[in-house]
């Protein structure tokens, strides 16, 4: 009786709300520089998820109740990311896409230049959709982005549920499958940010869901299901390069499998042709810069794999920070590493058991075979995490491959739930799902920034801003639409909310200009060639770190290490004017000089 009450939907909704509040509280305490115990946050995540996982493992809920539960899970976990944000986007890609969305609103047309990632304006799906909300509601890019990605996230959860339910024939299995998917390393933060893949992946799952529904429908009804498939393929092609290639690959593979397996249903080659044609057509006609953006990354990844495999290069340390992180950051604690590794073990065990069952029962379904391939490829992609330049490729691939893994693992979970003493088995599955969720979150986001840092704070009841944000506000209010060279973290904030054209990073090589203490001969000509009169010199060592560099410094905790004084003085010695000075950041105007 008590268990039944605790398993009721209102009680589960209440526990999700309490869990979300705990996550919000942990973030709030962290923003208040009170260094809260991370346990509050992890406890909050588990309070959200475990009751839902437990209920999903039951045989009692109806199809609609399961759908409601996974929507609640998706919404609550999305809100965990929202309460991490504060009032501005803070993830490095979000600044880039928000800048594009604001440009669409400002200029009323697409394809305006983006200095941070020049490829992004040529995949304007997410920004275009956000601009519709911005224009029709008056919301900022932040508000519109939160609503848009929230809608996409809920669509993703429901579509994945329908997809798994149709393929496995079990609503219970489908609910568990979606729960497993929340354990992918990119689910909690990276996949919930305002970025093109956060929209394209849900659209891809809608297309796959429509495809399997079409397969199950009687012949006269198949045409109806083709409508969302075709619209989805077209929309994905102009939203995200990688997703459009993944979708084309899936349909091509399906077309081949249908032929080889002599499936007695219409071969999906028209969809394969459309998906490949639109992805390739968009790449060649509109988004040629993608080749210069994506292929060097893939090339480096392949080189890194070969070098690591041959022993030429040392393997990457797991749970280490990226090479761009200059600040000394707290490493992931041993217990957290153990949870993340144990999560991989749990997934591996579930996949092994699941594969056996899937092979016995479902191997006549081409999409199921593809999912099996995806599950195996996921574990192969995990090895990329050992290669320094390939870990990101492996990490990005995981979001797609994990769909297959989650499906296969449903059958592993079903084996676990089979047999006597169901309650104990359900508890075991709930615990395993909890480990997978927490393990994924640990391996998907750096440990030291799982909790928010202060970008804005209050003092004596008034709002105060971190230096990068204060500079961005100054630029927005007084230097309308100027062109900047800046360390990458400052450059992102200058894009939005600063609304300026800000270059950072290595293409062109702004990074060396703003980081080196000596002025080299090539530096001023490069700034002149790119028409960058405003130059930001930032002494903070983490000013190139787009995940950590824009926040308040907190002595004793993080962000206090400084670069040599030369990074500022070299420009003062030219001499050129100093327009803004906050202590660690100086804004120079190269055109203002004697």
């Amino acid at each position: 009786m008590v268990l039944a009450r605790l398993e009721s939907l209102p009680a589960i909704a209440l526990s999700s709300a309490i869990g979300l509040f705990l996550c919000s509280l942990a973030n709030a305490l962290s923003r208040a520089t009170l260094a809260p115990s991370p346990l509050i946050y992890w406890l909050g995540l588990l309070v959200i998820a475990l009751p839902i996982f437990f209920r999903l493992s039951s045989t009692q809920p109806s199809y609609r109740q399961r759908l409601g539960l996974i929507l609640l899970l998706g919404l609550a976990l999305y809100c965990v990311k929202v309460v991490h944000d504060g009032v501005y986007f803070t993830f490095s890609d979000e600044y880039v896409h928000a800048f594009n969305a604001e440009n669409i609103e400002r200029y009323n047309h697409l394809y305006h230049f983006n200095p941070a990632i020049p490829t992004t304006p040529y995949y304007p799906g997410v920004e275009g959709a956000a601009s519709a909300l911005m224009m029709l509601t008056g919301m900022s890019s932040f508000g519109a982005g939160i609503v848009l990605i929230g809608a996409a996230r809920l669509t993703f959860m429901a579509a994945l549920f329908f997809l798994f339910a149709r393929l496995s024939g079990s609503a219970r299995g489908a609910g568990i499958g979606v729960a497993i998917y929340t354990g992918t390393s990119n689910f909690l933060f990276w996949g919930a940010q305002f970025s093109y893949e956060s929209l394209s992946l849900p659209l891809m799952v809608v297309v796959l869901m429509a495809f399997v529904e079409r397969e199950a429908a009687p012949a006269p009804a198949r045409g109806a299901w083709a409508v969302p498939i075709v619209l989805g393929i077209l929309a994905i092609a102009i939203t995200h390069h990688l997703t459009s290639y993944a979708l084309a690959f899936i349909f091509i593979a399906l077309a081949v499998l249908y032929r080889v397996m002599k499936v007695e249903k219409p071969n999906p080659w028209p969809f394969a042709l459309l998906a490949a044609g639109t992805a390739l057509g968009w790449l060649l006609i509109a988004a040629r810069s993608t080749t210069g953006y994506l292929f060097p990354v893939l090339e480096e990844a392949i080189k890194a794999i070969l070098k690591t495999a041959s022993g030429e290069e040392a393997p990457r340390t797991l749970f280490g920070q990226a090479s761009t992180v200059a600040e000394t950051v707290a490493s992931t604690p041993l217990a957290a590493r153990a949870v993340a590794l144990f999560a991989v073990f749990v997934l591996f065990a579930g996949t092994l058991v699941g594969l056996r069952q899937v092979w016995r029962r479902e191997r006549d379904k081409p999409l199921v075979l593809l999912f099996c391939g995806g599950a195996l490829a996921f574990f192969a992609a995990l090895t990329l995490r050992f290669a320094p330049a390939a870990w990101e490729t492996g990490n990005r691939a995981a979001g797609f491959l994990f769909i297959g893994l989650a499906f296969v693992a449903i059958y592993g979970a079903a084996e676990l739930l089979r047999g006597p003493n169901l309650l104990r088995r359900r508890l075991l599955l709930t615990g395993a799902l909890g480990i997978v969720l927490v393990g994924g979150a640990i391996s998907g986001w750096p440990w030291d920034i799982q909790l928010a840092r202060p970008l804005q704070a209050t003092a004596k009841g008034k709002e105060i801003d971190a230096e990068a944000l204060a500079l961005a506000r100054f630029a927005r209010e007084r230097l309308d639409g100027s062109r900047f060279a800046a360390p990458e973290a400052d450059a992102r904030v200058l894009l939005t909310p600063g609304e300026q054209v800000a270059y950072g990073g290595q293409g062109p090589d702004i990074e060396d200009i703003v980081d080196e203490p000596e002025l080299a001969d090539w530096q001023l000509p490069l700034l002149k060639r790119h028409h960058l009169p405003w130059l930001v010199a930032d002494r903070k060592l983490n000013s190139e770190d787009t995940l950590r560099g824009e926040y308040f410094q907190v002595p004793g905790q993080y962000g206090t290490a400084l670069r040599p004084r030369g990074v500022v003085h070299k420009f003062s010695r030219i001499p050129v004017a100093r327009a803004w000075h906050s202590g660690r950041i100086v804004l120079f105007n190269l055109r203002d000089r004697p």
Partner: protein, 258 residues
């Protein structure tokens, strides 16, 4: 569309939502109108047109409606980019109702005649009062969590600072604005000294509270030739000889790079 009440309602709703979103000045009202217009109605109409009289379970219809609406927004951006007026509030407010009306018209044609086709009534069971109370409590806690997440909080260990800036007041560049912005944890006192060339200097006593900005305007007399070097220096009240912040300019400014 006679007899197809759902199609008639979505057409009306699309037009009404578009008008409200485009014309009403209050953001919250516009959000209430624009969210269904962008994220539900176009998809619902297209799904209705695609499926005609065929049954589709309400949960799947709803999810497809949102998913297809997202696709319409993506493709709509591409379409609106073609004409010279481009992507504007007005063009969205026209395009989306047009999509809804056209697709609803197509759905009405594809559906069987009203009367012959009966949809299963959707029964909504209201939760018991106890459940409703728990749901309300859950929503209240979730809203509190979101509000807490958005709220800037005191961060006493965060390193505060004061910024100094200087820019010409207008294109004639015969005066500069000098700003002192406090992002400190407490009120601070400063002395601001502005040197205009070698002859003229002005000093200000500045007291700024956290989050406060004080702006001073200083005239820069035009010179017959050469440029006037303007230097603004900020000193802390407790360390009057040690430069705390310094900004500079040479007026009139050059337009070329060094």
């Amino acid at each position: 569309m006679r007899g197809h009440r759902d199609l008639k309602w979505i057409c009306l709703a699309a037009v009404l939502c578009a008008l409200v979103a485009a014309l009403v000045p209050w953001e919250i009202v516009r959000i209430v109108a624009a969210v269904p217009l962008t994220l539900f109605l176009p998809g619902y109409a297209i799904v209705a047109a695609a499926f005609g009289s065929r049954d589709l379970a309400p949960p799947k219809r709803t999810v497809l409606s949102v998913g297809v609406s997202l696709m319409v927004l993506v493709l709509g951006t591409f379409v609106l980019n073609i004409p010279s007026f481009g992507i504007t509030t007005a063009s969205w407010a026209v395009l989306l109702p047009l999509v809804v009306i056209a697709a609803a018209r197509g759905a009405a044609v594809r559906r069987e005649r009203p009367g012959r086709h009966r949809r299963a009534a959707i029964s909504i069971r209201w939760p018991a009062p106890g459940s409703l109370a728990i749901f309300s409590l859950a929503i209240a806690i979730a809203v509190a969590a979101l509000v807490l997440g958005q709220k800037p909080l005191p961060a006493e260990d965060a390193a505060g600072y004061t910024a100094l800036w200087m820019l010409p007041t207008d294109s004639r560049e015969e005066a500069v604005a000098v700003g002192v912005v406090s992002n400190q944890q407490d009120s601070h006192k400063y002395r601001l000294r502005v040197n205009v060339g070698q002859e003229q200097a002005q000093t200000y006593r500045v007291r700024v509270d956290p989050g406060e900005e004080r702006v001073y305007e200083v005239d820069v007399p035009p010179r017959a030739n050469g440029r006037t070097h303007v230097v603004a220096t900020l000193y802390r009240a407790g360390a009057p000889e040690k430069t705390y912040r310094r900004v500079t300019s040479w007026l009139p400014r050059q337009t070329t790079f060094p």
